[in-house]
């Protein structure tokens, strides 16, 4: 059986960052990803990131992705692409399918960095062609350079909904409205302002009631909500659209963590069921770590930092870094994570993560 010291499942920002840290310390790293190319969701982020210089502020997501890939290649990390990790057993064996053939990989330590999947919102007509996730249309536009329609409506005003709406305009589509069920806008004011000054209305206390069309979406019917989130009859409005994007949150892709026996906690602020982990990103199963959206829905910037944290902790656990060296490195990362998780948007996540990690430390 093939063996490695650290197997990382998922080559997105968290996985790549962990690979860089661990390999820098001397760990033998095998990075496994089911996609044809590494980078996770990073390469479709064509906007400039926020934060400080160390967080790559003002750098576009895909440029950060290119930097990370270069760093991984420099360190001779083994990267297995088109490889689906279908199972995790014992301590610790991964079942991997590549090119229709099955192989096993034994690893001393495993980092699960499998990211998240978009939530669905069910309403009559939601299965019609043309109704898709906001991330889905982002992939089609920014990676595949294809627009599946010309007139879009965005359901959800969190940062994903606002950013993807702006990117729809950049791709040459029209956005007839951003629809938000809550009474206020979910994402950053600046993202909303960019849309408003391009004439895109943001309709709060509104939701989608139905999508209509024969072989594809042709119309979206919106309805207003009262302060108890009930539909107000008679307030229906019809919009002619050929794309309906759903930006209603993300949920961690946690199958492997469940299978490995990790304990979970249900934390709405982090996207639902998240694996309990300590300050070293280690789960309740010794030797299995998590980082990125799997450990709690956040952003690419925090995924990179958590990946670094996991990489450093694993290098320490394998004896490649002394406790002293590891402590200094971890403190630098924690400082950056804390500075990112501040302000009215970051506070809720910081508190939720602290709660989760306190449980992890207690085990």
């Amino acid at each position: 059986m093939k063996e490695t010291e650290l197997a990382i499942v998922g080559a997105g920002p968290a996985g790549l960052s962990a690979a860089i840290e661990a390999a820098s310390a001397g760990v033998q790293v095998t990075l496994v990803d089911e996609n044809r190319r590494p980078g996770g969701q990073l390469f479709k982020q064509i906007h400039k990131f926020f934060g400080s210089k160390e967080h790559y502020a003002s750098v576009r997501g895909f440029d950060i992705g290119t930097k990370l890939l270069g760093e991984v290649e420099k360190r001779g990390v083994e990267v297995m692409l088109d490889s689906v990790v279908w199972g995790i057993f014992g301590t610790h064996v991964l079942g991997i399918i590549h090119d229709q053939k099955n192989t096993y990989l034994r690893a001393q330590k495993v980092l699960l960095a499998t990211g998240a999947i978009e939530n669905a919102l069910a309403f009559p007509g939601w299965t019609l062609p043309g109704v898709m996730g906001a991330g889905a249309i982002q992939t089609l536009m920014n990676i595949n350079r294809v627009l599946p329609g010309r007139k879009a409506i965005m359901i959800g005003s969190g940062n994903v909904g606002l950013i993807v709406s702006y990117q729809l305009l950049q791709a040459g589509a029209q956005v007839v409205a951003v629809v938000e069920a809550a009474p206020k806008i979910g994402g950053y004011g600046v993202h909303a302002s960019k849309l408003r000054r391009n004439g895109v209305p943001i309709l709060t206390s509104t939701t989608i009631k139905e999508a209509k069309g024969e072989e594809r979406v042709e119309r979206a019917i919106l309805i207003e909500l009262d302060q108890d989130w009930n539909e107000i009859p008679g307030t229906e409005k019809e919009y002619e659209v050929d794309v309906i994007c759903l930006a209603v949150g993300l949920s961690p892709l946690s199958e492997l963590a469940w299978m490995a026996g990790c304990q979970f906690e249900y934390i709405p602020e982090l996207g639902g069921h998240v694996p309990i982990h300590d300050l070293n990103m280690q789960t309740t199963v010794p030797g299995i770590y998590v980082a990125g959206d799997l450990s709690g829905i956040e952003e690419a910037s925090t995924a990179m930092e958590e990946g670094k944290l996991a990489g450093i902790a694993i290098a320490e656990a394998l004896g490649y870094l002394s406790p002293g060296e590891a402590k200094i490195k971890k403190e630098a990362v924690s400082k950056r994570l804390d500075s990112f998780r501040t302000g009215p948007f970051g506070e809720a996540v910081r508190k939720a993560k602290a709660r989760l990690q306190r449980r992890g430390e207690a085990k």
């Binding site: 996609n35 999947i117 996730g133």
Partner: protein
């Protein structure tokens, strides 16, 4: 519709030089792109129909997780077109229902 010019991504350099067949019709695709992208660029909206109610379906998640985009590719059903790259001469068909797997012969 293909996005030929983009304010951040620049000009689309790759040309659609690969010929694939979709329900008997020949369309051109960019080498290496997912089947779903080529179909959407060519204006094809429906990828399959559901088994019971014959409802039209197409791309939903675009990252190979939801299976809404499945079609029959070179005779094999349930192929996720959003993560499967095109190949010259590929034959793609709208899938009706669950599809049939041919018996494997030894």
């Amino acid at each position: 519709m293909r996005i030929k010019e983009h304010p951040i991504l620049g000009k689309l350099e790759k040309e659609p030089t690969v010929e694939i067949e979709v329900d008997g019709e020949v369309i051109r695709a960019i080498p290496g792109e997912p089947i779903a992208a080529a179909l959407l660029a060519a204006g094809k909206n429906v990828f399959r129909y559901t088994r019971k109610l014959h409802e039209p379906r197409s791309v939903f998640c675009a990252i190979g997780r939801c299976t809404d985009c499945m079609m029959i590719v070179d005779g094999v059903p349930n192929v996720r077109t959003c993560v499967t790259p095109v190949r010259a001469g590929m034959k793609i068909q709208t899938q009706h229902g669950l599809g049939e797997f041919k018996e494997r012969t030894q």
